[in-house]
């Protein structure tokens, strides 16, 4: 048996990953889905194997620094970001595999609907989405539809390999009551969330159950794709899948497919470029098109501002509305975070963003939000 050495080291757990921003770092706990901002100087104490020699530290830090460190050590221990170990056993704890992969040619699909839409839902769900092994669908409508319209669609989804579906639909009391929609959601178990927009109040209509069956109503009017693309901590996604995806891919558009109200196939409903219409174009052909895939690979590490942001690997992205419409690597327009001051500010009033707001015709939307 090998001689055991004293546990004088601490090691960061491999799923608690520090990400450095311009001014500070965050430790992303990918297992417990949380993050904690810490100073760079704390992260710099760990070596390339995420190890920190506590005994050595006592001889190198002055008393004041040691006092501060002990407070941070307490935080790291309380969060179980670190464990005490000896150098030998630390070798048995490798870094986490950072590969991202998913068994779908298109992981998610957004389908926009208005009164003029002529989508063939049966063909779309049973044949087209199945051909790209799509697991997740969001249906978003800008006009009012009856519950029986949605019921016809969910029946097709229930019999398909699609795992979960979100609805963003207009709240019109003439079409359905909140009680009716709640019951409908409860009896269709693939529904993850129904968001009722243009509603009279913001509230939770039905509580979620194991991540499914949530019904929300919001006052916001969603009558075009222009309201999408917000960047906010409430949209952060702190898990292994999103983190690894962001290392090599775009966190919004990678393997996304969108069908706009007219049936045009796009990377995102808010983007101009169409790769054909579902009337006569196969989704699998679009997904396999190298040109279509280009935006999938725009990484956070390449985007202005994002690359200096400590939240870059847990954050969403938007490539449709950007600060400089001429530069596809410019920062998301609707992000108010400043990684150089670590402050969240209101994006829509930022003087540097007014030109882009005008370019996208968002003046009315911005006024509404204020």
């Amino acid at each position: 048996m090998e001689e055991t050495t004293p546990t004088q080291h601490i090691k960061l757990h491999s799923n608690c990953i520090p990400v450095k921003g311009a001014m500070r770092s965050v430790i992303c706990d990918l297992q417990r889905n949380l993050y904690i901002p810490v100073p760079h100087s704390l992260i710099d104490l760990f070596d390339e194997d995420s190890l920190l020699n506590l005994e050595l530290l006592e001889t190198t830090l002055d008393t004041a620094s040691l006092q501060i460190f002990s407070e941070y050590l307490h935080l790291l221990e309380r969060q179980e970001f670190v464990f005490h170990c000896n150098k030998l056993e630390a070798k048995n704890f490798p870094t986490i595999n950072t590969e991202w992969d998913f068994p779908s040619q298109a992981t998610n699909c957004v389908i926009d609907i208005n009164q003029g839409s002529e989508h063939d839902y049966t063909d779309l769900i049973q044949n087209e989405l199945d051909s790209v092994n799509c697991h997740y669908v969001q249906l978003r409508s800008f006009d009012a539809f009856s519950l029986s319209f949605w019921d016809d669609i969910i029946k097709i989804i229930n019999g398909s390999p699609i795992r979960s579906v979100d609805f963003i639909i207009m709240d019109v009391s003439a079409c359905f009551s909140h009680k009716e929609i709640s019951e409908w959601v409860y009896s269709n178990r693939k529904i993850r969330c129904v968001t009722l927009h243009s509603s009279s109040e913001n509230k939770i209509v039905r509580q979620q159950n194991l991540g499914f069956s949530l019904v929300l109503s919001v006052k916001e009017k969603i009558n075009s794709p222009i309201s999408c693309g917000n960047i906010h901590p409430s949209y952060f996604s702190i898990n292994v899948e999103s983190f690894t995806e962001s290392l090599a891919h775009n966190t919004c558009l990678n393997r996304k497919i969108a069908i706009d109200t007219e049936g045009n196939i796009k990377n995102c409903p808010s983007m101009a470029k169409s790769y054909g219409n579902i009337r006569d174009t196969k989704l699998i052909d679009v997904v396999n098109n190298a040109d279509f895939q280009k935006v999938w690979h725009i990484k956070k590490d390449e985007i202005t501002k994002c690359k200096d942001c400590e939240f870059r690997h847990i954050c969403t992205d938007c490539r449709a509305y950007i600060e400089n419409p001429e530069d596809q690597y410019s920062a998301p327009l609707k992000c108010g975070y400043n990684p150089y001051t670590c402050q969240w500010e209101e994006w829509s009033t930022n003087p540097l963003k007014q030109q882009a707001i005008e370019y996208y015709g968002m003046q009315a939307l911005v006024k509404d939000e204020k």
Binding site: F83, P94, N97, E99, N133
Partner: protein, 327 residues
């Protein structure tokens, strides 16, 4: 042509999420187009079968209504496999029924030797803990002293004086009992016991149970094993009182820290030897690492859960299985 395609047969159960996950990877792989992929949920009852052996053949074979010769690969995950007695013979008498049942049992057992090659085999479920430990001992693995008892022997009471033991069910941790008009499911997790607990029961008999010396843990290791490949995860269950003895007492608010782990090579070699000697090519293996860095082998679960291991450690085990099915 459809006819000439070989078949991948997946024997599983309704609602087995891991089977769904593997199927996703199968369909995603363009090679799957060359196969018929067939999934069967639940028990497979075989109505017509002939098993045969001939002096001119090396091994016995079978012709059966279920396993057609096109099956290239059989992934056993869940469910039973048995030869059905034709209905008309079953109605005569209990006596006759009994005779056929025991006859059938022998050949049902033998049938499992004849199923197509693949991942796991229904016979892996018949694994016996003591048999596993006999093999483990031959491979030079440490494991906790283990008693299978339905009453407390003097020997055991003596042993209990100096040590702590845990008690757990023999195999399946839950039993269903009928009480009045209810059917009650009782789930028993692993519990620590001491001499005082035992003396409350002594000298009564009870359901056959497993008593095992309590091994102090630094962390537990859950390993997924497939044909010599090891994917391991360390579970830091000691920090939490709720999960100290049995990590299945999940703390949902604050789940045990679960991180990728590499077992030492010498230990993997011994486990590999054990799996070969038991002729089980896939399974989940539990290990304890003690505060003194000793490795205690606990058990093999041939059809264990691997989804949480795969997700926590980003191992893509489901893709690994799909690749193995397609070669």
């Amino acid at each position: 042509m459809e006819m000439s395609k070989s078949t991948i047969l997946i024997h599983s159960a309704d609602f087995d999420a891991s089977t769904n996950d593997v199927l996703d990877w199968l369909y995603y792989n363009p090679q799957s187009k060359n196969f018929n992929i067939k999934r069967i949920n639940g028990s497979i009852g075989i109505d017509t079968i002939s098993m045969y052996i001939s002096s001119s053949k090396e091994t016995p074979a079978s012709v059966c209504s279920f396993f057609d010769p096109n099956i290239k690969f059989y992934w056993y995950r869940r469910g039973a496999l048995e030869i059905l007695a034709p209905n008309k013979y079953l109605i005569y008498s209990d006596n006759f029924n009994h005779v056929t049942k025991s006859d059938y049992a022998d050949y049902n057992k033998f049938l499992k030797e004849l199923v197509p090659k693949g991942i796991n085999n229904p016979r892996d479920n018949e694994i016996n803990k003591l048999k596993v430990y006999v093999h483990a001992k031959q491979c030079g693995l440490f494991f906790p002293d283990t008693y299978i008892l339905n009453s407390f022997s003097d020997d055991f009471l003596e042993k209990l004086k100096g040590k702590e033991f845990v008690v757990k069910s023999l195999s399946y941790p839950s039993i269903s009992i009928h009480y009045k008009s209810f059917e009650v499911d009782l789930y028993s997790s692993t519990q620590l016991i001491n001499l005082k607990d035992v003396l409350k029961i002594y000298p009564k008999t009870f359901l056959l149970s497993q008593f095992q010396e309590y091994i102090p843990k630094k962390y537990e290791i859950r390993t997924f094993y497939l044909n010599g490949i090891f994917k391991s995860m360390a579970i830091f269950s000691q920090q939490n009182e709720q999960t100290k003895v049995d990590f299945r007492n999940y703390d949902l608010e604050r789940p045990n820290r679960c991180v990728p782990y590499n077992l030492p090579k010498w230990y993997e070699t011994k486990l590999h030897e054990l799996m070969l000697s038991l002729e089980i090519n896939c399974g989940s293996i539990d290990t304890i690492v003690t505060p003194d860095d000793e490795f205690y082998f606990l058990e093999i679960n041939p059809i264990g859960q691997f989804q949480w291991l795969s997700k926590n450690c980003n191992y893509f085990i489901e893709r690994m299985i799909a690749d193995a099915l397609l070669h």
